[in-house]
């Protein structure tokens, strides 16, 4: 079964919610999700962040919907790591 283990997203978001809330909300989406947020650029009303998410099985649709709910806009997916794990019988 192929699962996404890591992704790096380029996101434009308003100043609020802050990066603590963004990181904790995304981390709360699944078990063993680990999130690293780096602020790349700060403007008057917005900020560009790099969002590095790692986990056992990342749900991209759910992550994108959560970001949209926060008022953030997903600019690009810069890196993805997917693994193919054989299920043991």
């Amino acid at each position: 079964m192929v699962t996404i283990k890591r992704m790096l997203l380029d996101v434009l978001k308003p100043h609020e919610p802050g990066i603590f809330k963004v990181a904790s909300d995304i981390a709360g989406l699944g078990d063993h999700y680990s999130v690293k947020v780096s602020v790349v650029e700060l403007d008057k009303q917005t900020e560009t962040i790099k969002l590095e998410i790692t986990g056992d099985t990342l749900d991209f649709e759910l992550i994108a919907a959560t970001l949209k709910g926060m008022g953030a806009s997903l600019h690009s997916v810069d890196e993805v790591i997917a693994t193919n794990e054989h299920e043991t019988r």
Partner: protein, 204 residues
């Protein structure tokens, strides 16, 4: 038991969501300000009415209560409608600016929800603050009407209640500003006494 816990969890979640939306709309401090400003309006209006009745020909207690209740409801409705209209316009303007900066539609996001719900909460506080404070000040009149003994005539008791409410608002302001609560309370009480003196010189 489980149902009760679930209800409590739901209530806590709704409350947390609303507090988050208020914070997002930066309306939490506006609510505090409106509460004090309109609470002051309510308390001083009642003080003025009570003093007017004290210096006028004695009126029936029912008439006094109806006049004061009418003023309280009018203050409440005025606070509710004016805050809703002005806050909705302000939130919408801010949302449009943010949408321009983000170059996307934010109506479905938390910012959109905050723009929709924050004015309702602000309006509720703005309307209920003067109404509740007025109703509290009118308590001696209701007690007297129900033939419950009061240490002073009902109008004088209501005046003391109004002064007490103004003092409490001052204490609340002091707590917000982080200054000594008694000093802040006495300052607002002084303002109410100045108002009462003005009413005395004009009508008395």
């Amino acid at each position: 038991m489980n149902m009760k816990l679930a209800k409590r969890a739901l209530f806590k979640r709704v409350l947390t969501d609303y507090l988050f939306l208020l914070k997002l709309a930066k309306s939490d401090d506006i609510i505090r300000r409106y509460f004090v400003v309109n609470g002051f309006d309510g308390a001083l209006t009642m003080l003025g009415l009570m003093m007017g009745f004290v210096f006028s020909r004695p009126a029936d207690l029912n008439i006094v209560m109806n006049v004061c209740l009418g003023a309280a409801v009018a203050l409440g409705m005025s606070g509710l409608s004016s805050a809703y209209v002005s806050e909705t316009a302000e939130r919408q303007r801010k949302l449009s600016r943010l949408e321009d900066a983000m170059v996307c539609d934010l109506s479905g996001s938390d910012h959109g929800k905050a723009a929709k719900h924050a004015p309702i909460l602000v309006a509720l506080v703005n309307g209920s603050a003067p109404l509740l404070i007025c109703l509290f000040i009118l308590t001696p009149l209701w007690l007297a009407n129900a033939d419950i003994w009061l240490p002073l005539p009902p109008l004088y008791c209501a005046i003391l209640m109004a002064l007490f409410m103004v003092f409490l608002l001052g204490v609340f302001l002091g707590r917000i500003a982080g200054v000594w609560w008694l000093k802040s309370g006495i300052e607002t009480l002084f303002l109410a006494i100045v108002t009462a003196s003005l009413i005395y010189f004009i009508t008395g």
